[in-house]
Amino acid sequence: MATTDFTEHSAVTAGPDGRRFDLARYRDLSLLPVLVVLGIIGFAVSPAFLTADNLLGVGQQATELSLLVLAEAMILITGRMDLSLESTIGVAPVIAVWLVLPDHGARFNGLGLFPGWAAIPLCLFVGALIGAVNGFLILKLRLNGFIVTLGGLTLLRGLQVAVSQGQSIVNVPGSFRYLGSASWLGAPAAIWICAVLFLLAGSALAWLRHGRALYAIGGNAEAARAAGIRVDKITWVVLILGSLLAAFAGILYTGHYGSISADQGNGWIFQVFAATVIGGVSLNGGRGTLFGALTGVLTLQLVVNVMTLAGVPPLWNQFLNGVIIILALIVSRFASGEKQE
């Protein structure tokens, strides 16, 4: 009797659950229908849409944003937020270049403290430093992460304006330029690099203990601590990695557009969040995949591409953009069948 009982009981819960899990498991694919629809619209709208040129172009334009999204997705999965990424993408290259460029002879003069090859390491170092400081303020002083990094966003942007005196810096080091504009095997290098970074990070989050720890920490930090996960340390590392990625995105951006502009990345954080969340990463931590986040970026980027191809009247551009974010959100909510709270 007791056994029958139990099977019956578990049947009640397991049966429907089973079905739900399958859906939920593909929650990070919930934007794929949106992408397909966009593809069809794009194809209908212009024959230029489905050309390698156009798609690679969209891909390359997505690279910098997608690195920020990669960074933010990891941070969100760990249950934190970092708004200052959008400033890091600008300030890290500026500081690196300022330390490296000679102190005379050009429109923008640096300090010439380091040799030219040091630009990339310096830029990455500045990124890591920013992440470390954020981590200190959030984890040691226990300040609210949202506002600390909001303050950081303003502060870093201001630092960039101050250091670059508001100018775009055009004489960027060759190493930046190479990474941002080289082509490998017929596709821009930046696309390859991004793909590899997403693969690496995605695999780490899927198959490595320390990667899984992010989900545990974001899901329930106390429980993670009880299970022996070094919560603060790992969170700190994630914040540092995030800023590092943003600094690297800054290198690609600088190389791609041929200069460091003073408002590089300005306003991107909204797009970063939009892409990450419509891609299925939870703002409350512990849920979502990097692949999902990637589909989020591609969706936003394709929207812009298709709207341009379709010749949407400039005045209605932004409105449509907002409509599409909300529609994508609705689709991804119902495709995954989960409430997003």
């Binding site: 007791a2 203990r209 320390h210 989900y215 329930n220 429980a223 993670a224 009880a226 299970a227 022996g228």
Partner: protein, 517 residues
């Protein structure tokens, strides 16, 4: 006192442990020693410092003072989690299950693979998880997400995880609070098995019966201090309760003289007709009269909790009627239920009971904000006065009505939830597991309060699977699989009730004829 002399060095020995949290002293010069293979009970009232000791023994927190030794060696350094895990495993009082992760991953959290750089083999992990779970007779899909499990299944995952480390010393902090009778039985079988293999336990529970069943030694804490350690045989229940409370035991509410049976012509205050909530219960009929305390017994999936919640307006049933004091109540609306005179003590105070950062006064008056001032205002003076009365009536231990409720001990938090339910002076009090996680002394007073409500001419419905809760009832209705299967009048035996809850009741005094199916 009468420490049993250990044959070899104890698996754990803590001495002179003190710990404060800001202003609160959680432990003061406390000690404990657990011998190898021993089942050691740690008891004390809510807030006595038990869980704090647990967090110190498992390396989650460091003590302010004191020494801690495992197997005669000093404790590992703070933060060296691997070393701690080799010494001690623990089922914590607060759930450490991560809802969004699968069962398999929860079981092997932070040890999914053997090395930081070695990739996880999910297949192997699933297989190990299945093996582990079958040992406990828990049939859950290891790929299910933990959030989709029932509370009980989750608790078993938690237990299985702690026991699977292979530690020689295991701490269980109120592991049975979320289990029904059969679950407890299964757990105890497993624990005895481990006991036979020489594993030592530190077992915390507010159910003294479990302690007498399982443990050989008892340590009592009171107000952050060590009071006594003695073999079970030397400490009978009276002495134990006395040690816990520091007072001579009076007659408890549960043992008090049985009141006159409620006359059948007392007006029916609560009538449930034909109520159905698909997936939980079907065609339930129930009547409760003025002055009556009715128990609604049932194991985890019996639907009794959902029935109680439906009366309180949390669910909208698909069919049937609820009538309170002769008037039908709109279902599925808490305000309607409140207006009709239903008071509600929810199942889990952390989830549905309390607004943790708000004050005791605010929490206690949450249901009666319309009575605290004219024209929709809430006057602080009246709120305070109201809360003060509640604090006095229910004997809530709090520095004052303005204290955030999160700073209270578990038992006192529960009292605040009851205060909130009583604030409306309900005709019908629906209390779901009202004594969940509450110490024996508070349990008595809480149940006494419920009884008192009924004695004042109202009715109370206690929804629970705990026999202690049900003992104060005039009448117990047992549910199984969403149907009422038995009705027991006062004087039932534990076996009768347990059998009824398990759906095997076939008793002479069964009034409902559904029986088992």
């Amino acid at each position: 006192m009468a420490d049993p002399s250990p044959p070899k060095s104890p698996v754990v020995e803590a001495d002179g442990i003190s710990k404060r949290f800001g202003a609160t002293i959680a432990l003061s010069d406390a000690r404990i020693a657990v011998a190898p293979g021993e089942s050691h009970a740690l008891v004390g009232r809510n807030g006595a410092g038990k869980s704090t000791l647990v967090s110190i023994l498992t390396g989650l927190q460091t003590a302010d003072t004191g020494t801690l030794r495992f197997d005669g060696e000093p404790a590992p350094a703070h933060g060296d989690t691997d070393a701690w895990r080799a010494k001690v495993a623990c089922v914590y009082q607060r759930s450490t299950i991560i809802p969004a992760l699968t069962v398999a991953e929860n079981l092997f959290l932070d040890r999914q693979s053997s090395g930081g750089l070695r990739p996880i083999s999910w297949r192997r992990l699933r297989r190990s998880a299945t093996e582990l779970l079958t040992e406990y007779g828990v049939e859950v899909d290891p790929t299910a997400r933990a959030e989709d499990l029932t509370v009980e299944q989750r608790q078993f995952v938690e237990i299985a995880r702690a026991l699977s480390f292979g530690a020689r010393f295991i701490i269980l902090d109120e592991p049975t609070a979320k289990l029904d009778a059969r679950g407890i039985e299964r757990l105890f079988t497993k624990l005895r098995e481990l006991q036979d293999q020489g594993v030592a336990f530190l077992f915390i529970s507010h159910h003294l019966k479990e302690i007498y069943d399982l443990c050989s030694t008892i340590t009592v804490y009171r107000d952050a201090r060590h009071i006594v350690t003695a073999p079970v045989a030397e400490l009978d229940q009276h002495a134990l309760v006395e040690a816990m409370t520091g007072e001579r035991t009076r007659t408890s509410a549960a043992d008090r003289d049985v009141t006159e049976p409620v006359s059948t012509d007392a007006p029916a205050l609560l009538e449930i007709e034909n109520l159905t909530l698909p997936g939980f219960y079907q065609d339930v009929e129930l009547t409760a009269r003025a002055g009556e305390v009715v128990g609604l017994a049932g194991a985890a999936a019996s639907g009794n909790v959902q029935l109680g919640e439906t009366v309180a307006g949390l669910h909208r049933p698909h069919g049937g009627r609820i009538t309170v004091a002769g008037r039908p109540v709109r279902t599925g609306k808490v305000p309607a239920a409140l207006a009709a005179g239903v008071g509600f003590v929810p199942e889990d105070r952390h989830v549905q009971g309390l607004v943790p950062q708000r004050s005791v006064a605010e929490n206690a008056t949450l249901t009666v904000t319309d009575q605290l001032g004219p024209c929709g205002t809430v006057l602080p003076s009246r709120t305070r006065a109201f809360a003060q009365r509640m604090i006095a009536d229910l004997d809530i231990k709090t520095p004052g009505p303005a204290t955030p409720v999160s700073a209270l001990s578990g038992g006192n938090q529960q009292k605040v939830v009851i205060a909130r339910a009583l604030a409306t002076r309900p005709h019908v009090l629906v209390a779901i597991r009202p004594t969940n996680g509450v110490d024996i002394k508070s349990k008595e007073s809480l149940l006494g309060t419920v009884r008192q409500v009924a004695d004042e001419g109202n009715t109370a419905l206690i929804v629970s699977d705990e026999l202690d809760d049900l003992r104060v009832c005039d009448r117990v209705v047992a549910m199984f699989h969403g149907r009422v299967v038995a009705e027991l009048d006062r004087g039932w035996s534990d076996e009768q009730l347990v059998a009824a809850m398990e759906g095997v009741a076939d008793l002479p005094d069964t009034k409902e004829g559904h029986g088992h199916h």
